[in-house]
Symmetry: C2
Subunit: 215 residues, 2 copies
């Protein structure tokens, strides 16, 4: 449970899954107690950063002893909502959508894609990695019946806005947006943009800066 009633900063949230990876490695090595310094060293971070981030999950380390590995893993999973499976729909069963349907990493992180939606009649009714593909018109009914609140959006930019509205009408409140489009949705919706071009831009610019001796 969250004890802090202030929103966690974005960089903190983004670092927390990395802590979880490191802690799971420690647990696999039967290391029962870990310090913020142990975690920080594995990730090239400062221990104070780790301690500050951990405070947002509600856990407190003991001086000289550190954190109990198992307890910290559970606390982090609960903070991230990864302690129980959350069902999600995927919209857009193209190349990227197909890959995400087959990606085992999500289930490990509590996200279970339970159905896919597409407009292509050739895809509708088929199964991709075991998940049935439905027409978009079925979304509202299925979302209500299956109690789904998260949509993974993997459609081209030109269909993104229309699909986002279909998701909203279906009662979906969180969109994981893999499309390059900017979505114009009400504040009540949570949208997380997964922008591959941003990552590619960072890689290109940093390589070019290194070549020019700027960094």
């Amino acid at each position: 449970m969250r004890e802090h009633l202030i929103a966690a900063p974005l960089p903190t949230i983004r670092r927390i899954p990395r802590y979880l990876n490191v802690l799971e490695d420690f647990a696999a090595e039967q290391i029962s107690f870990v310090s913020a310094t142990d975690i920080a060293n594995k990730l090239g971070l400062k221990p104070i950063q780790v301690r500050k981030d951990m405070a947002f999950t509600g856990i407190v380390g003991k001086p000289k002893v550190g954190y109990k590995t198992d307890e910290l893993i559970e606390t982090i999973k609960s903070f991230l909502g990864w302690d129980s499976a959350t069902d999600a729909f995927l919209i857009g069963a193209g190349a990227l959508g197909t890959a995400l349907l087959g990606y085992r990493g999500f289930a490990e992180r509590g996200l279970q894609i339970v159905a896919a939606f597409d407009i292509d009649p050739k895809k509708i009714g088929t199964r991709i990695h075991g998940k049935e593909v439905f027409p978009i018109s079925k979304m509202a009914e299925l979302a209500k019946r299956m109690q789904v609140h998260i949509g993974v959006l993997t459609v081209p930019a030109e269909s993104a806005s229309q699909c986002a509205h279909a998701l909203m009408d279906a009662g979906i409140t969180g969109i994981w947006n893999f499309s390059p489009a900017e979505l114009d949705v009400p504040e009540s919706m949570t949208v997380q943009r997964e922008d591959l071009s941003a990552g590619l831009a960072v890689l290109s610019v940093r390589m070019s800066e290194k070549k020019q001796g700027i960094v």
Copy 2:
């Protein structure tokens, strides 16, 4: 060409591809001049932010006229190195790797995946979305011959470190790391981590904060 000899901040670099999307929309609508305010409004940003970010690309807007749309597009593409195609290798032809091999978005952004590598004998010699799959042992020879300096890493966590070293030995200097592993490589390498769990964490935490009335 970069006129600034200081490294662009990370959030600036990540925003620039979004400016490019918006500018390409303006160009498609035959809008020849755009202001920082026009761009900012489309993205829900402040105009001063857009102006500051643009300065890193080396372009200067004219007061009351703004930027010439086509010129700004060219300047941004040149800043990002997206004005010419850069060849890349993909390592790990699993579900995610296969999707990225078929993803048209990269070519539009100047990244051309020219070959894939895998350890699975059943995949080696086949073609995925037209790209041949080679054994990892061929990487150094092909990187040299094809002048490839970027590797897209889509292997499971347990193989990531070994593959990163194979990339390094092949003369690759930039790694786009889609594996959940932390890579321990020398400073001379540029590594861009594409962390899907970080995005999922942000979506989960923000939805839970909204539910609790924190944000």
